[in-house]
């Protein structure tokens, strides 16, 4: 009751101050969600400003006599001569657990019809990334459940791994698979009552996508039971450019809350090409000078400051992490375009998806030669390192060699063996969408592949063998899989058990 009285007294004290001082300006120009305002001499950069009717804007351009601002909401009724006030506040979004399972817009307002977001915490949309002292190296894995990625291009918690490729090559699928796998791992840890498990919360930011695509993604995540650990931020193609520009930053703020509270989070920006286009539109309307491909000069800074917010914090800073999976759409596989090169240089590696591979049936269509993870191998579990150490190199060699092999039939035995192994490895890495594989299953399959148990099988039977082996191990050798998952390293004894398991299955396998 005493706090209640204090609250009332402070409100009375506020009211006793009879004069309210405000800094105001007048709208001189308005169009396409961008206003130019005269006055507002005390406005700060990125400060929220209030338009008539409770509409808010964001001051982005501070000039000598004018302020350029973007309007957050329906600007149809704002007109020239309207008075605009400063608020002294920066743009904030709700953050925290109440957002899990929700679909919100760039301002954190619900879009899913499940009522208001009951979050009490707010974070500024623009925030300086954690500094050097607060950070530590990446050492914990993000299990995507996609064998090709977990084996060859591993991702660590706190890493920024770019997913890049042409349209319709499976970029979003990789991100969605990763989210689904986190949900499975989180649920398994919860069910087992594992106190050491660190759940990975996911944030999916849809920028400039069709509403139907966003609805499909939400549908998949709901069907797979991933929503309790996921937040979706939707700024669709029909939203204003300002909302599309703000959405990734709002998502980063929501992810930072988990990181600051010692938890792990994963954020997917789908995609940053459209984000750059939205920012270009805002910048051109604000009459900022344009540069290459009409993008403003600070488009690199736009993405670098966004992606720098992904980090792994030190024990002292809470041991949280924010992993970022930005997505970039290329045009005809052109990696050297402006925005792709920018984001490639900012991130800690990229997963490049090729259209040709996709149409050859290699899905996920990962180009092994051009995909790389610069820090993730430090986070790979030892068992995976032991079985997948040489796979990436062998597969890259196979792709090179396969191109040459088309021109001649006489090949030496070594090349023939390389090609045979490569063909089978490619088959092993083919994976159906929305079916991520647990790491212990991946280790088992890769062990069989790298130890030549698939070499004598016809290529078209490899997938059948793999599926059979997985089924055999899950149903009859569950203890072995559990042992791999728990020990995380292949000891001689464990390797012998795996060998026995594979041989037992192979003995009964009819090709």
């Amino acid at each position: 009751m005493s706090t209640l009285l204090q609250e009332i007294e402070s409100q009375i004290a506020n009211l006793k101050t009879s004069v309210a001082k405000q800094n105001v300006g007048v709208v001189r120009e308005i169009g396409d969600g961008v206003a130019r305002i005269e006055g507002l001499s005390d406005v700060m950069l990125n400060e929220m400003i209030e338009f008539p009717g409770g509409l808010y804007g964001l001051a982005l351009n501070l000039e000598e006599t004018e302020v350029g601002a973007i309007i957050l909401g329906d600007y149809a009724h704002v007109k020239e001569g309207d008075e605009v006030k400063t608020t002294g506040r920066l743009l904030q979004v709700p953050v925290g657990r109440p957002l899990l399972g929700r679909v919100v817009n760039a301002l954190g307002q619900p879009l899913d019809g499940k009522g208001p977001v009951s979050s009490k915490d707010f974070y500024p949309v623009e925030k300086i990334a954690p500094g050097i002292i607060k950070r530590r190296g990446v050492s914990q894995p993000v299990q995507t459940g996609i064998m090709a990625i977990d084996a060859m291009i591993p991702i660590g918690r706190g890493q920024r791994e770019l997913i890049i490729g042409d349209r319709a090559t499976g970029k979003t699928t990789i991100a969605v698979d990763t989210i689904i796998n986190q949900a499975r791992l989180n649920r398994a840890a919860e069910t087992a009552g594992d106190r050491d498990a660190r759940p990975l919360y996911c944030i999916y930011v849809a920028v400039g996508q069709k509403n139907s695509s966003i609805a499909r993604t939400i549908g998949v995540l709901e069907a797979e039971g991933a929503m309790p650990w996921t937040i979706i931020i939707a700024a669709s193609a029909s939203d204003t450019a300002t909302n599309q520009y703000l959405a990734p930053f709002a998502g980063a703020a929501m992810g930072e809350w988990f990181m600051d509270h010692g938890m792990d989070a994963l954020i997917v920006y789908d995609d940053l090409s459209k984000h750059a286009v939205a920012y270009r539109q805002v910048s051109l309307l604000l009459k900022r000078p344009s540069g290459r491909e009409a993008y403003p000069g600070d488009v690199f800074y736009l993405h670098s400051r966004l992606l720098e917010r992904a980090a792994r914090l030190s024990e002292k800073a809470g041991n949280g992490s924010l992993t970022a999976l930005p997505i970039i759409e290329t045009q005809a596989g052109d990696l050297s375009a402006y925005i792709p090169t920018n984001v490639i240089s900012i991130t800690d590696g990229q997963i490049f998806l090729e259209t040709d591979l996709f149409y050859q049936g290699v899905r996920p269509a990962i180009s092994v030669g051009t995909s790389v993870s610069r820090v993730g191998s430090a986070a790979q579990i030892k068992a995976m390192k032991q079985v997948a150490g040489k796979v990436k190199l062998e597969l890259a060699q196979y792709r090179e060699m396969a191109a040459f092999a088309q021109f001649g039939s006489d090949l030496d035995a070594k090349t023939r063996a390389l090609l045979d192994r490569g063909q089978r490895t490619v088959e092993v890495f083919k994976q159906v969408q929305y079916q991520p594989q647990p790491v212990e299953v991946q280790v088992l399959v890769l062990w069989a592949t790298t130890n030549g148990y698939l070499d004598d099988l016809p290529v078209e039977k490899v997938k059948t063998f793999q599926n059979g082996l997985v089924e055999f191990a899950t149903t009859r050798k569950a203890a072995l899989l559990e042992q791999i998952r728990r020990e995380r390293v292949l000891t001689d004894a464990l390797a012998a058990d795996i060998k026995a398991c594979v041989e037992e299955f192979k003995a009964g396998f009819k090709a």
């Binding site: 009879s18 004069v19 001082k21 405000q22 005390d42």
Partner: protein
Amino acid sequence: MKSRRDSRRTARRLLRACMAHGQLDGERVRRTTQLLGARKPRQGLAVLEEFARLVRAETARWKLHVESAAPLSAERLAEITTLLAARARGAVETTASVNPALLGGLRLRLGSDVWDGSVAQRLRRLGSISKNVAPISAR
């Protein structure tokens, strides 16, 4: 683009030349405008337009507008002008208007600063506070 930048720069320099003791000198502004009109320099029109915009913005900084619910006496208006001129450290140009929607009190605007001491503003604040205070049952 370059010519536009040049004309902006020239206009800013002209504005600076028209300042005396931190405020615009009306006589200098008039002479500058006449000279620009007579000599017709390169991009003279663009310079003149930009100069007009800057003069308008600078003049607005020193404009005091007093709104009251009931008409104010000349003495009261002069008193307010003197007080705000001292605060702004310069001569201000005062205009006044009656706005019954204020219900009572005054609303002063000097440049882009507004001091609102009206009854309407206090009622609005009271309204927003009561909206933010949660009912006791919800605590």
